[in-house]
Amino acid sequence: MGGDDDGAALGAVRGAVVAEAQVWEALKEIPDPEIPVVSLVELGVIRAVDVHDGHVRIEFTPTFLGCPALEVMKRAMEEKVAELGAEPEVDVVTDDSWSTDRITPQGREKLRAAGFAPPAPREAAAPKLVQLQASVFRCPYCGSTETRLENIFGPTPCRSLRYCESCRQPFEQFKTI
């Protein structure tokens, strides 16, 4: 009790000065609603944080435009900023500036550990069916590259279905976007 507690409480006072780094730290705590092993920061979907006079503006890119988790993510970010005592503004950026290449190395590793094969690197041209059918995608369970494409589409817009011939495990592959 005493001085230390007063100090800790200061940050939560509405209108207190919020630093950009604090906002990034808070955003790291928001899990992806559909794949909660990774955070929104690890997914790379938060493009910019701009702090000005107790007002926090976040630029955010949806993975897929039809992603139903978009509103949930937006609300979660607004709540986190409000908890810091700042006024949130989340702008959805719908251009081509985000790609699956922006998923951080930690994010990719967490995806793999949870049984989702991370996306292949983006190329200048769009991926082709023959590339997806190639046996170069690594099974997240046994590491084998003897895998085959089962369906371009999966349970969410961002995933395809593959099957590992070595360990006979079906798995989900992040689409390269």
Binding site: G66, L132, N151
Partner: protein, 210 residues
């Protein structure tokens, strides 16, 4: 691209998204059930993003999408058709994706940066729809019922694109150019789809709470 053309793109994606979603639960293969549901979800997401681009940050995209009368929609008759068999459904998907690729490629060069940026993002997602359509086209191209379906839908496919882009579609599809069934007019099927599509909106004008 002018606003009417953007509205045409958004309405195409919205209505085709609805039509594609009609296969959810009843597609002939489980894989296709998943594929059509996912494609439909993407198409409706594209429609939403384009409506939002048209109305701007303070506008009401839902109102634009759902508060118009059926005759006010700018979609091409191709996407309105209520198709009940797999050959026609795949023929439409393939024809639409070829036409849409030509349109989106042009839109990526739009002088308006927000429009061009959105077109580039849509293009990345559509690449997967094209793969799906091409895969089926490869498989069915020699089947008489599929060829017949493509020929039946061909005048409708031409109607997806403005006159200046049709030449490329003719080249890629390999059929002779005919009189297009153009956007502007509507099929009777649209009114029936509209009833279903706008039902929630009309029954809860102030917004449905889930």
């Amino acid at each position: 691209m002018n606003e009417q053309a953007l509205l045409g793109l958004a309405d195409d994606e919205l209505v085709l998204g609805w039509r594609d979603s009609e296969w959810t639960g009843i597609a002939p293969l489980l894989e296709e059930d998943v594929a059509f549901s996912s494609i439909a979800q993407n198409e409706i997401g594209h429609a939403r993003a384009v409506y939002e681009l048209i109305v701007g940050a303070d506008g009401d995209a839902d109102a634009l999408a759902l508060d118009r009368e059926p005759e006010e929609y700018r979609c091409a008759p191709l996407v309105e058709l209520h198709l009940l068999d797999w050959a026609h459904t795949i023929a439409r998907r393939w024809l639409y994706e070829v036409a849409d690729e030509i349109r989106i490629t042009a839109l990526k060069e739009d002088p308006d940066a927000a429009t061009a940026g959105l077109a580039a993002k849509i293009d990345r997602e559509e690449a997967y729809h094209r793969m799906h359509a091409e895969m089926w086209h490869e498989r069915l191209r020699e089947e008489p019922c599929f060829r017949q379906a493509v020929e039946e839908l061909w005048p409708y496919a031409l109607g997806v694109l403005p006159a200046e882009l049709r030449g490329e579609l003719v080249e890629r599809v390999g059929l002779v150019e005919v009189e297009p069934i153009d956007r502007g007019g509507h099929t009777e099927e649209l009114a029936l789809l509209w009833e279903e599509m706008t039902m929630v909106r009309r029954s809860a004008p102030s917004g449905a709470q889930w």
